[in-house]
Symmetry: C2
Subunit: 273 residues, 2 copies
């Protein structure tokens, strides 16, 4: 999927919502546990209930890997289900990968070819040759960690590097990498005041924004400082949507939560903020 | 496996060699491709041929993930084979994981519980709460990236942070984390001169050292500057051993390469350097 196609979907749905699929078997309705593939069936129900309100789904790979081969099968079924039924939706493998060149190439093969995701999240610590193998894929997107939403973000990401914070250096440096047009960045919503600075460095890039809702970030604040002419944001909500209810009405409640966010987004888009 | 047990194995085998299992189907003898699980069968042959010369095996997770569910099955069979037949060997999931707390917990569950590895490699960019969930496991080890062996290491890891290089700050900060005794660090062999500085910060920690051989690092140089009283090093070789031959003698040739390194290590240990 090209960036232009993603922008078209955002305008069509009046939404820039990404639904995070972080399925914990302890948090889903207990009746699913009797099914052969509880994780896939739960995801399917969530996706069917929200696909017209969201422009992206973000399976959190750890939550599949934790169940071993069964989990990997659930992941494959989930991404195949989205690609077959809702090919207009942008898919993000939230995997935070990154390694030396030939190893990153193998990760890229895993997520872009074998699983056919549109994008993957990667970590920047190992630098250029750990990220470029992902960027080499045409019409795929590499979403690099810049400033994350967790407390540990302040351990290293905001350290002072020759007068500027490390995450800014990460953003700047990455712009010189081959095919950097395929880059997006992770920027946590819990730090809305940082978006102004970030937009000075990457005015046109899409930013994947976790931390709205459960982690305390404000949608309107993020939009105020982070939006660009093409919206340029994908706002993720995981727990707030998929665990809106633990009862049999979980899919309805998930839709209601997604609708609330989508309506807020539509209003923001209309006001041109 | 405890650190003490690892040290005992090093002394018993007079070896601190780690064999990296980065199996690329294009590089193994073609007869394997006719088997049901070529990756596992190749790994098994390498392990059987080298287990008395190596103290650790390091499957590179990307090389399994690239083959999807089949790859994950090969990984499971490989780690199970080591644990059942050579439980004295230290196992490293080379996965470079790291995410917010509850996600890192799921990765820890995947590699420490489901797959039963002794250790995993992790990336530091997201800070304390992204690494501590791994450290919470007793008798498991978390091997954090400090200074890697690739060119991109110089993009961020050696940046000047308030007068010292970022990787040094990463090492120092990590010492204050909960259960930091379970930490080891990745330090590339291609930068042997850095080991003196690193040993000032983490004198007692084990260092996992890639980059000897194919990537150009020197074993004797690394030992000269990086060894401590318990050896404190795990020297990885992947391609130099597993692809020593592409013919039917690949296992013999792998053993011969491993033996050459082990003998060099025994000599270094004896000379107390």
């Amino acid at each position: 999927m090209t960036t232009q196609q993603l922008i078209e979907q955002i305008n069509l749905k009046k939404s820039f919502l990404c639904v995070g699929l972080d399925v914990d078997l302890n948090k889903i309705p207990q009746r699913f546990l009797a099914l052969e593939d509880p994780i896939f069936e739960f995801n399917k129900a969530i996706i069917d209930a929200t696909h017209d309100l969201a422009v992206a789904y973000k399976p959190n790979i750890a939550f599949f890997e934790a169940y071993g081969i069964k989990g990997w099968l659930s992941l494959k079924k989930t991404i195949d289900y989205i690609n077959e039924n809702y090919p207009e939706v942008f898919t993000i493998a939230d995997a935070k990968r990154g390694d030396i060149g030939n190893t990153s190439s193998m990760y890229a093969k895993a997520f872009f070819e074998d699983l056919n995701f549109n994008s993957i999240t990667v970590a920047p610590y190992m630098g250029k040759d750990s990220v470029e193998p992902f960027l080499a894929f045409e019409d795929k997107h590499t979403i690099m960690l810049a400033l994350t939403s967790n407390e540990g973000a302040f351990d290293f990401q905001t350290l002072n590097v020759d007068g500027e914070e490390l995450y800014k250096r990460v953003l700047e440096t990455s712009k010189s990498w081959k095919n950097s047009k395929n880059l997006m960045y992770v920027v946590g919503a819990t730090k809305a005041e940082y978006f102004t600075e970030i937009r000075k460095i990457v005015p046109d890039s899409f930013l994947l924004v976790p931390g709205v809702g459960a982690q305390g970030g404000s949608l309107s604040e993020v939009c105020k400082y982070g939006m660009n002419a093409n919206v340029g944001l994908l706002i993720n909500s995981s727990r707030g949507i998929i665990y809106a209810s633990k009862e049999d009405d979980f899919a309805e409640k998930a839709r209601a939560e997604a609708l609330k966010i989508q309506q807020e987004m539509a209003a923001i888009m209309q006001s041109g903020n």
